[in-house]
Subunit: 427 residues, 2 copies
């Protein structure tokens, strides 16, 4: 007998069929039993009018008759005839996967990742993640961006940051990429518009709900821009389109987190950092510490401000200070202490950093000097600016933070299959 | 004036328009000049009936009148009126980007990557690469696979290989992933069918035309299989569909390499490794060395055999020996010295390795012992087999080798934007 996918059962009502899948829930009563079975296309209820032996989590093959059942999600259920256990657990599950919510501590959830991921509500996070990266790729391409894959092993810890992981690379030392920054800029010289969905590594000794040492960055970079506002407008357009499609395709998964829609304004409000520092003080009586550009509490208040003033989940904060931004960031034309740099906040958390970049060789070298950045190991990057680079800029977006904020997850680690932090290298 | 994209010029014949882009070629004559200009949507010829000054490679803004020109590729050209140089080169280009072929030595090509990538024929490689990964993602999803992103930093150098890069990870040691093997298997327990497009790292001290230390692997893994032939059939289906779409969407880029079609058989021929060793001897008078399962010359002959016997660019070689395969590979039911493992060769080069995996905990632990593999650091992986894993298997496909073979490139490094090998960490 040939396997029928669960999604196709409703077209075969009245027929006998074989399904395969995992038992997600089981109610075993004396005269009737119910098994919820999931395959990669859906879930169906099977009803048994004879005694069966089964454990939640077993992988099974079932033969039975497909019967109409209006109250069931797919409009049908299966009256079970034969049950074959393909694979069973040889130890008890460490937690009850059949419960509606797992309600585990983060540590337990992550230590038990190989099994907690099987819970439908956890599955939903990664189904939405799949939709997000699918649609990001599609929408970027529709807007003329070419996908690139740039190296994650770098010859030099450039970009001026300290948070690089060091690798033993044959008889040399190398570093893990903190971002595809230099390479995507070089690729603007080739394809004008490029994007990347790629691994990114940060040796940040942070113990927060928003930091991990490995994540997937959704990067974009575009040339021939007239201003950094064009980058923001493009990003706005991309996110709006991606969110609309994720909402449409992922409604059932969003509903599990009581998210009914994913509104993105046609024009996301923008506020200059200096102005927002004033607003935070006046409106919310909060002084953003002078030692930071904006701190998490400041971001939270910016999110509140966006909601209260503009009914928006998103807000751009622009004109970050020159002293806080990497050497390749274009200084503001209006105020040399500021930059053409921006962050995008989603529900009060930074999910994107972007800017216009310096494209003139002399200006770039000047800016490096002013910042005290040594060119060692980035000569190849600097060289490209000798060869007619157009005005350009782009962004890096944290894919997991985006899902975290979309669903209101407490930690970014819930939005990563197997997260990595200072202490966590396993599973 | 608003910028018009080059792809849209043909709908505006007779109108004045502004375009922006890079000068790919220039013929400057005394009374008339021609500039080929490229933006992210295409290339157009601009004609100048007045003296202009320009260098190949410059980024320009041009205003002119769009005129019908039947001989031109897009059916039109631009009669230039105003030429503004947005960005120019401050040094001479190290090679002539306007030549039809660059004809550079591999080292020169790669050392000069930031500019050689701008050549149209090199661009074509990465346009096809973009199409490949786009379509792999789409076709995998159409077949029920969910995309996952698994960690590239691992707590243990597992999988039994020696070719791991070591990282300093805070106060611990860690390793770069050689493949998503363990994680994709775990994810079969969650989504049944999963795939990944991800970075993969191999510390192989090889100086060949087919090895690099960092590449993008196209992985797939599927559950509830009846045999390893089902995996091969799925892979066959995926590649066939992907190739058809790449051929359709990428025809102009393929044509630059004189590739007119990308035929994939409905059923790719398969031969057992032991049988092919015989065939190589009898048919091609070549003895595959006893020290290898199959060597590059053996692969080349297998490619020849596929072409001569089956008119196929592809051939599966199956039943690799147990002694040569990792501990998680399912032994053959017929012959304990062989495995349910296969490679797929494309034009005489291995591009895929795959197999059915052991899904039974006890069998897996037994097999590890037999192979002398220590479980240290992979307890999390072994644990999942205590919890009802279905029969499953999958593959890892080298995306760059695939492009290399598709276009007949001499080295895999030509198919990678910024390749990494023993000596090459820059650019």
């Amino acid at each position: 007998m040939e396997r029928i996918l669960i999604k196709d059962t409703k077209e075969r009502i009245g027929q006998e069929a074989q399904i395969m899948g995992r038992v997600m829930n089981a109610r075993l009563l004396s005269n009737v039993s119910f098994l919820q079975v999931q395959d990669y296309t859906g879930t169906i209820q099977t009803v048994w009018e004879k005694p069966i032996e089964i454990k939640v989590g077993d992988a099974v093959e079932i033969i039975g008759e497909i019967k109409e059942e209006k109250r069931a999600k797919g409009g049908c259920e299966i009256l079970g005839k034969e049950l074959k256990i393909i694979s069973t657990s040889i130890e008890d599950l460490p937690f009850d996967l059949a419960k509606k919510d797992l309600n585990l501590q983060l540590t337990t959830l992550l230590d038990g990742r190989i099994l907690s991921l099987r819970h439908p509500k956890i599955q939903a996070i990664f189904k939405l993640y799949d939709l997000l990266i699918k649609q990001y790729g599609l929408v970027m391409r529709e807007n003329g961006f070419t996908e690139v894959k740039t190296p994650k092993i770098l010859g030099a810890a450039s970009e001026g940051g300290a948070n690089f992981f060091k690798i033993k690379y044959f008889d040399q030392s190398a570093f893990l990429a903190q971002s595809p920054q230099f390479y995507k800029q070089i690729m603007v010289g080739v394809f004008e518009r490029v994007f990347e969905i790629g691994s990114t590594f940060r040796a940040e000794p942070s113990f927060t709900t928003r930091h991990v040492s490995e994540y997937i960055s959704l990067d974009g970079e575009m040339g021939f821009i007239g201003s950094f506002e064009e980058i923001m407008a493009m990003l706005n357009k991309i996110i709006k389109e991606v969110f609309e499609r994720v909402q449409q395709e992922g409604a059932e998964f969003l509903a599990m987190y009581e998210v009914n829609d994913l509104p993105v304004p046609a024009k996301i409000p923008a506020v200059k950092l200096a102005d927002f520092r004033e607003i935070a003080k006046k409106k919310y009586d909060y002084e953003i510490p002078a030692s930071t550009d904006i701190d998490p509490e400041g971001e939270r208040l910016a999110g509140r401000y966006a909601k209260e003033e503009f009914n928006s989940d998103f807000i751009f904060i622009t004109n970050y200070l020159w002293k806080d931004k990497p050497f390749y960031t274009m200084p503001s034309k209006e105020n040399a202490e500021e930059t053409e740099g921006f962050d995008l906040l989603y529900k009060g958390m930074e999910i994107v950093t972007g800017s216009q970049r310096i494209h003139d060789y002399k200006q770039l070298v000047e800016n490096m000097k002013k910042k005290g950045v040594k060119p060692d190991g980035m000569e190849y990057y600097l060289d490209v600016f000798k060869f007619a680079m157009p005005p350009h800029g782009g962004w890096g977006m944290g894919s997991e933070r985006l899902i975290q904020q979309m669903l209101g997850l407490k930690s970014i680690k819930e939005a990563i299959l197997f997260p990595r932090d200072v202490k966590r290298l396993i599973p």
